[in-house]
């Protein structure tokens, strides 16, 4: 990845983490259920930049950990784990780069993220008596709807402006002589 690419990754991580931790929670529902970090991380995976996705997840996780309100969610480890699972999925199961595969990938990311939170909630509260809360199902459902909508829009815009996902079909001229 070029230097410009890395700068974009770092800036995107800082901006999305600050949005998720310090901006969006102040908005009323359903706006507060937007979670841009995982969406952008999945976008980096879809753009075939697994290293970029990992660095993005790491920086964003550290920043979210600094300004989190609930104790012990360990966003750094959570996001890195989710991105690693997404990279494996994108290389083994969801290998095509369509809008459907992108949607499926972001839903999978959100489910893995919730699984991680539920496990930390279970072990954290029973073993360490930590105050860790898992978001209600209604919020989670709204987040998934946002994920699908925003990822579809991002995918279409990327395809439109960068022609990144364009499948080129070789055409042979035929001679009907």
């Amino acid at each position: 990845m070029s230097l410009r690419g890395w700068i974009i990754v770092v800036l995107a991580a800082i901006v999305s983490a600050l949005l998720e931790a310090c901006f969006l929670p102040f908005l009323p529902a359903p706006w507060r259920d937007i979670r841009p970090i995982l969406e952008l991380a999945v976008l980096f995976v879809v753009l075939s930049s697994p290293r970029g996705a990992l660095v993005f997840a790491g920086i964003a996780g550290i920043l979210v950990d600094l300004f989190r309100v609930d104790a012990g969610t360990f966003a750094f480890g959570r996001y890195i784990t989710v991105v690693v699972v997404m990279i494996l999925l994108s290389q083994t199961v969801l290998t095509n780069r369509s809008v459907y595969a992108t949607g499926a990938l972001v839903i999978a990311a959100r489910l893995v993220d919730r699984l991680w939170l539920s496990l930390v909630h279970f072990f954290g509260t029973s073993l360490f008596r930590l105050d860790i809360r898992v978001e209600p199902l209604l919020s989670f459902g709204t987040t998934i709807l946002w994920d699908i909508g925003l990822m579809t829009a991002a995918f279409i815009l990327l395809a439109l402006f960068t022609r990144r996902f364009l499948v080129t079909i070789t055409r042979h001229s035929r001679y009907y002589g």
Binding site: F23, W31, L66
Partner: protein
Amino acid sequence: MQARTKVALVLAGTVGALLVFRLVGAFTPIEEALRFVTLPVARAVSTLGNGAGTLLHGRPDAVQLRDRVTELQAQLSTLTVDYVRLRSLEEENRSLQALTGYLRASGYDHVSARVIARSVDPQSATVLIDRGAKDGIETGMAVIVGDGVFVGKVTELKDRVSTVTLVSDQKSRVAAALSGQHRLFGLVEGRGNQVARLTLVPQAEELHSDNVIVTSGTEDKIPPDLVIGLVNDIQGKPTDPFKSAALQPVAQADSLGLVSVLLPTALRPETGGKTP
């Protein structure tokens, strides 16, 4: 073993080790340094978020406004009686306050703070403020807005930030008194979704709708007479040992931007912990 599996195992081990280190607080100095650097940006972003939130909350519809007017008119008639009675006391109080100042008279100094993050879970009413242990804040201190409206207490402390658990949080418990009585009257328990209840009120005590509930002053670091909310709906049979009531908090958790943490004078950093 495949290279991919190896990488996954190494990564899982690293993340696990980092999690353990973090739980034991090994990264605290690094976190504090990073927080110091990024705090101004977080403060600016949260100010923007608060402004955007106020805009997006929008205006209530006509039916809601009509109901609200009826409710407020009922409250006004009750409060008018109290107002006349309190007017004479206020005159006397004002002359005293002019001499000593509210904070000196109550023995409490305050630290102003900005809300920089909040919990998105409606059951959990917690916010993060941009002041911490280095500003003289301690766990258990009262957090107020405006002229002494109690919003919650400090429950978790870092060097430069602290977590405030608001009155409506499910884990919040505040010792309460009836305004003007100066004795423990009941307990205000948070129920989530910006709802709180006044509980454990002895059946013999008189409790009416629109009574003003304040802090009792029996808790360490929380002074008396900070307004918590108004009594709404009283519940409990005459045979029950205690009665309870729905409480309408005076401070709106949605619009919290600037708050003050009450700092007992004896705990001011510059006095070195000596009682003046």
